[in-house]
């Protein structure tokens, strides 16, 4: 049969597109397949001990929510490609050819049923890195055009902003000037400044969209007499959620270029878990080495100011019992377990731990980009049931966190499960304690946002 009349050569467009998607996904997977990923794919003995470590399983005890079962979707086609027994006797080892239907099923698994929190990893006797497998799956799906549109859009918008920064600069400067006036009124200190583009500052502070991440930081830096400047960009990196190193790198590059151009010593990221993972831990690997500046989280810096006696805090500004939710990106996966507790012990009167907390903290269900995807809201809120139970059991009317996505999810869980708590960021508590010490009113972050 000649090439021209082979059935595959005259396949209808839908079939051809399907094959193309599968082939692209496979290529992306092969590119991601490094030694760590091979170990994670090969070592699982399917003992099922990881089940209760996953907040999805804890909230809905369905075998499909066992982390090992989730990763089996990827292992099935890995074995078909890379295991001789998987090629000869696929039924024996659960191997399977990858199809477009598999990709469709994998989309919900990788993007909506795993927040990449790594609680299963820390609980696995083998240390299987299921988040790494799910991130590879996300990369495959993104390459095949099957990633959630919202995440793609947000990542592309961030890249576009980096490419057209000058167009935004003047508008941004005006917004910052207004914010500066507001901060001056709140603190009663007309010398408070929010510097932009300040060369040779010690700190380049990177907030998020919204004044609520800038105003408290400005007050804290001012009170600590820090030499700082505000970034033109936002900290979030949706390329990380997509498992797309090229996009993640492009988004991170905006901040790196800005920090290098200004000659700062530290880039300090606002209360955002994945932003810390992206720039502190992943970006040096993407760019092939360490940066000429440190990457820190605002909680680390505040904790340092407290320990150095640079902030005068009155904890009576926060008299109610307060508990703390560890962001998985900052805590278990970022190593920032002690800094937020130093801040809380100094800024509030009655701090109570959740059980469990720290490296064993249960994910709230808002990670992995899930809070940005409206179509999976129900899955997200259901998966947060365990965290809601945990918060209720703590008996504290205020829940603090140091991650914007966790904050949004906890606020939604509060409404869904009628917890009757107030969700706040750590910076808000610190500013309340600062202002009280100066005899001023609390910040009322909601108004500022």
């Amino acid at each position: 049969m000649s090439e021209a009349v082979r059935p595959e050569a005259v396949a209808p467009p839908a079939v051809a597109a399907s094959r193309e998607a599968v082939a692209t996904a496979r290529q992306a997977f092969e590119k991601a397949l490094d030694r760590r990923l091979i170990a994670a794919l090969e070592v699982c003995a399917r003992c099922g001990i990881c089940a209760e470590s996953c907040h999805y399983y804890m909230s809905t005890p369905d075998p499909a929510h066992v982390p090992a079962a989730r990763a089996e979707q990827v292992r099935a086609f890995y074995r078909r490609q890379h295991d001789p027994i998987g090629r000869l006797f696929p039924w024996l080892v659960g191997a399977k050819d990858l199809t477009e239907d598999d990709l469709d099923a994998l989309q919900e698994t990788a993007f909506a049923s795993c927040t990449l929190c790594r609680r299963c990893t820390i609980n696995c006797p083998f240390g299987v890195d299921t988040a790494l497998i799910m991130r590879a799956a996300r990369g495959m799906l993104t390459a095949a055009g099957k990633a959630p549109e919202m995440l793609v859009m947000l990542a592309d918008a961030a890249i576009a902003r980096g490419e057209n920064a000058d167009e935004f600069r003047e508008i941004y400067r005006e917004i910052v000037t207004e914010l500066e006036q507001e901060a001056q009124e709140r603190t009663g200190d007309p010398t408070l400044r929010i510097p932009l583009d300040k060369k040779n500052a010690d700190i380049l502070y990177v907030g998020l969209s919204g004044a609520h991440t800038i105003l408290p930081a400005a007050i804290i830096f001012h009170e600590a007499r820090a030499n700082w400047t505000l970034s033109m960009f936002e900290a979030s990196n949706y390329g990380l959620f997509l498992g797309d190193p090229a996009k993640a790198k492009a988004i991170a590059k905006r901040l790196i270029d800005e920090a290098v151009a200004l000659g700062v010593k530290d880039v300090v990221l606002t209360e955002c878990g994945h932003a810390y993972t992206a720039l502190r831990w992943e970006a040096p690997t993407w760019f092939g080495g360490e940066f000429p500046f440190r990457v820190r989280n605002i909680e680390e810096v505040i904790a340092e100011y407290i320990q150095e006696g640079r902030l005068d805090l009155d904890p009576s500004a926060n008299p109610e019992p307060i508990t703390y939710h560890d962001s998985c990106n900052l805590g278990r996966n970022g190593g920032l377990l002690e800094a937020p507790r130093i801040v809380l012990r100094a800024a509030v009167e009655d701090f109570r731990e959740l059980d469990p907390h720290g490296k064993e903290s249960v994910c709230c269900g808002g990670g992995g980009g899930l809070v940005a995807i409206p179509e999976w809201e129900e899955i997200r809120l259901r998966a947060g049931r365990k965290k809601a139970e945990q918060v209720r059991a703590a008996g504290a009317p205020v829940v603090a966190t140091s991650c914007e996505n966790c904050n949004l999810q906890l606020t939604d869980l509060n409404a869904r499960y009628k917890l009757g708590v107030k969700v706040v960021g750590l910076m808000e508590l610190v500013v309340n304690a600062l202002l009280k010490a100066k005899g001023r009113n609390a910040l009322a972050i909601a108004d500022a946002a």
């Binding site: 001990i49 001789p84 080892v93 990893t121 080495g289 190593g335």
Partner: protein, 210 residues
């Protein structure tokens, strides 16, 4: 050539197959990039790796193993049994006469390992969640190793079983690179990467936060 000599050659050939198969796994894995983390460490990667292979394997170190204590201990006993099985196989070929106390200890460890193996297999059949998670390989591999350990306990009790033990040992060796049994090989990679990751980030092992 007598039966014992034939069995010795069969076991040796099987060990060769296992070694070649694992060598293939090793070279295939090492052919892939390592992609080491480049970020400035917040803790000690070496301390993390030490933790991963020592304290981190203790039953109390993880919430999961505290919840599934029985299943975890069963797994530990099974794997200690496998270690005894390999020792029993080597001794069966070259030093089949052991002093009484040592022989009884070997039998006890092999028997405990076998019981743990059969117990694990039963759990895999009976527990719906575990059954749903399993592939045929999970049943075949655990059954094969449990048979090997059972035969080992019998062989060291009564030498008439030694032939069956050696042949089952040979079958198990051949199965290593081709079945889930090879997780014993990848375990070292996985725990190493686990320790490196969490040690570097100052989460496990000794941390020195900046």
């Amino acid at each position: 050539m007598n039966a014992m000599e034939i069995e010795t050659w069969v076991v040796a050939a099987s060990a060769g197959v296992a070694a070649a198969g694992l060598w293939r796994h090793l070279s295939r894995t090492l052919a892939r990039p390592l992609r080491p983390e480049r970020a400035r460490p917040a803790g000690s990667p070496a301390a993390g790796v030490r933790y991963a292979f020592t304290t981190g394997m203790m039953p109390w170190a993880k919430e999961s193993t505290r919840i599934h204590l029985l299943a975890y201990l069963r797994g530990i006993v099974f794997h200690i049994g496998i270690g005894a099985g390999v020792l029993g196989l080597v001794l069966g070929l070259w030093a089949p006469a052991l002093p009484g106390g040592s022989r009884l200890l070997l039998i006890a460890v092999l028997a405990a390992g076998a019981l743990a193996g059969w117990g694990g297999l039963t759990a895999r059949v009976l527990e719906p969640g575990l059954r749903a998670l399993s592939t045929p390989d999970d049943f075949v591999s655990v059954a094969l190793v449990s048979l090997f350990l059972s035969a080992g306990a019998l062989a060291w009790w009564d030498a008439r079983w030694m032939g069956a033990f050696l042949l089952l040992g040979a079958a198990t060796l051949v199965a290593i690179p081709f079945t889930k049994i090879r997780h014993c090989f990848y375990y070292f990679f996985s725990r190493y990467f686990f320790g490196l990751f969490y040690g570097r980030r100052g989460v496990l092992g000794a941390a020195h936060h900046e």
